[in-house]
Subunit: 437 residues, 2 copies
């Protein structure tokens, strides 16, 4: 099975766990059957591989997520990198061209597309295989998954099938309705449109060439920023007559808000927290500090390096505009070489804890407006400062004046305490160089 | 006026703001008329000095609070240091001997004793002057403040006066009653015993000599740890016949729990926090992270380097046993030379931000089991390492191996990032030396 997982943009709806550079799909909020913590993207990937060990998984995403994806899924997963955000039609066209030109998938092979963040069980992935098999038959150009509604939701578009068969041609599509309209649709046998569908590769490639002037994947990639923002639903689905829907009645949760996320949690507390006489209280604590909750009901508490949220369950869906107003510094980020965490900010200085993974290294870079001091906390490796390489071990100190080129290479995992000193400390004050060695 | 402020022990009832080494009276939770933040002890001291600029203030407290008191009140305040905790009779006896032998207060002068942590306004301090004046008259050996009850509280002892006059002899004392009994007391004209009283110095000094075998202040100090724990109420007040009470009907709050503390706050938020559609919600945030509260009612949120509390207002009084169970590392402390904050703890390392006040210096010390690295972040001063002194400025790095003696002296306020490296990192691993220079 060829499967494209659409890994959407960053967002603040799960603040303080998600932010401008850290998307909800990478938060390790679930548990594997072995009791390890895993993220949405890890869960979905594990579930796919369980149902189809040979599945060729490609993640369609933006540049900013590439490090996190490799950190969480390893190097073997395919990634179709969108140079910028251009909505789902360009993204699916690019991923399809990537499958064809880079991965060598044939035009007659079918491809399944689904979001990276549903909270589902194995039934869902079995349904994806049926979707894949149905697309392969070629009866229709597109085969959609139609999710059996559990309530008259206003959050989803609806698909009206022509029959009540498990697989049926589509009669029509309906935009997100109000509750009363939704009730009428459901009475007509309507299904939710969860943005999951399958097609034969050649079909979408032809649609792409119809709408976009390009030769191959590389060309499409190069001109990606010139493309018009348009959704796949609008550009393709709603204009297609030969379109089928397959019913899916298994468990399906769309984890977009704190309220739905906590419903999917296996236990009320993740991280260091004590609950005393609490009812329906969930805590996700990424800080190294205990949280004590007493006498609360229907409350969500979450703490990370970005901040602390305390919200009643209902209100948590209103978080975005409130958090948008916070003037936030990025306090934690995953990088290709590891991660960093801001420990302290003072006028004229910033203190960072950097973790460099074994075998990885930072870019070779310099800063114009700040000096830096590295204190090696643990691990072993090498630093290169202005071209000079030397080994480092715990307790070693490396001082780098503004302008000096430097990098650190980890032989074993390195933890480095970095003190930045300067009047203007900014992530933008960075010049990168090639490593010559 | 000679006034002794009893500064009680540390406690966790206002966790995470108070802990084993940081008492509630030092938390800067109030505002001065000029809008600066101040602690309970600073507020009380400022209020005393406003009513009586010449008041001789002595704080009776334990060794652990001396640094915090000097940091907050300056060097001119008198401190009677209890070598260990022995309840209020030994503490008041020691403070009285201190006033007599160290401060030169005469036996006929009157002394007022009151707790350091009431939340009161200027009326209270005017009442203390009346108490002082009444004690000076010598009509009674002790003059107590009797607080007009506002409700039949179970939290206080009651004083039954002989008459309804403003100053009256005491008929009898009653232990903390249940609500129904309290109602009966109040119907009889009973007053709350807030632990505030005045006496002529010689009286308590004689009581002390009756009960304890000592010569003078130094001798009492030396044998303090051998004294029996006994309260002043039990040892003196309840056995004294010549005892008067003065009515006080002004504002008086006993700030012992989060619930009463938040009632005394001038505004719902201290620190970085946003409240959205909240009702009766109080936030005290000492962290450098935003707190977002949404849709909450009657909730108290507090965050410090020690942890995060989220509690409904009622439940907050139950905090102590819960927090007692947390295995807590001290994350922040005020020292005589400044303060320190733990930024990070890893296996084999600990990172600390130390602030050394201008003109101050750490003890000259060494560690047996850890190396340390100092990174100067800001300020200027000098370090002494194994007897060698040299000046330091921002960006300088000082490495100290286990066993090496070191200290840092601040010419201007110094901020120092300290990395501790070693398998066993403990506050107890410290040897102090005399500075020879």
């Amino acid at each position: 099975m060829n499967i494209v997982l659409l890994s959407g943009g960053s967002g603040k709806r799960l603040w303080p766990l998600s932010n401008d550079i850290r998307s909800k799909q990478f938060i390790k909020i679930f548990k594997t059957p072995e009791g390890e913590r895993e993220s949405m993207v890890q869960r979905v990937y594990r579930q796919i591989k369980k149902i189809d060990g040979d599945a060729k998984v490609t993640i369609a995403t933006s540049k900013t997520q590439v490090s996190a994806i490799h950190n969480q899924l390893g190097e073997s997963v395919g990634i179709s990198v969108e140079p910028c955000r251009r909505d789902t039609f360009p993204a699916i066209a690019l991923a399809t061209a990537y499958l064809h030109d880079v991965q060598g998938v044939g035009e007659d092979e079918s491809v399944v597309v689904c979001p990276v963040d549903p909270y589902v069980n194995d039934d869902y992935f079995k349904a994806l295989r049926r979707l894949d098999a149905q697309a392969a038959k070629g009866e229709a150009n597109l085969v959609l998954m139609g999710i059996e509604p559990t309530h008259p939701s206003e959050k989803y578009g609806y698909i009206i099938p022509k029959s009540t068969d498990e697989t049926s041609f589509v009669s029509t599509f309906k935009e997100k309705p109000d509750v009363e309209t939704a009730k009428r649709y459901i009475a007509q046998g309507a299904l939710w449109n969860g943005g999951v569908f399958a097609y034969r590769l050649g079909y979408v490639l032809r649609k792409a060439h119809e709408l976009i002037d390009f030769t191959d994947y590389e060309d499409l990639f190069a001109k990606y920023d010139t493309l018009t923002k348009i959704s796949f639903d609008y550009a393709v689905v709603e204009r297609e007559d030969k379109i089928q829907v397959q019913r899916f009645s298994g468990e399906w949760k769309d984890i977009g808000t704190w309220n739905t996320l906590t419903e999917a949690m296996d236990e009320p507390v993740l991280g260091n927290a004590v609950l005393d006489r609490c009812e329906n209280v969930y805590v996700v604590n990424e800080l190294n500090l205990p949280i004590v909750c007493m006498g609360l009901k229907d409350v969500i508490v979450s703490a990370s390096s970005d901040g602390i949220l305390v919200s009643d369950a209902e209100s948590s869906s209103r978080i975005k505009p409130i958090v948008d107003k916070l003037d936030q510094q990025i306090m934690f980020a995953e990088k290709s070489w590891g991660s960093f965490r801001v420990l302290d900010v003072q006028p004229g200085s910033m203190t960072i804890l950097a973790t460099v993974k074994a075998g990885q290294h930072m870019n070779y870079h310099s800063h114009e407006h700040r000096d830096e001091v590295w204190n090696i906390m643990s691990g072993s490796g090498r630093v290169i400062v202005d071209g000079m390489e030397r080994p480092v071990k715990p307790g070693d100190v490396i001082t780098m004046q503004a302008g000096c080129r430097h990098t650190i290479l980890a032989d074993t995992e390195l933890k480095v305490l970095e003190l930045q000193l300067g009047r203007e400390i900014s992530v933008h004050d960075k010049r990168k160089f090639e490593l010559e060695y």
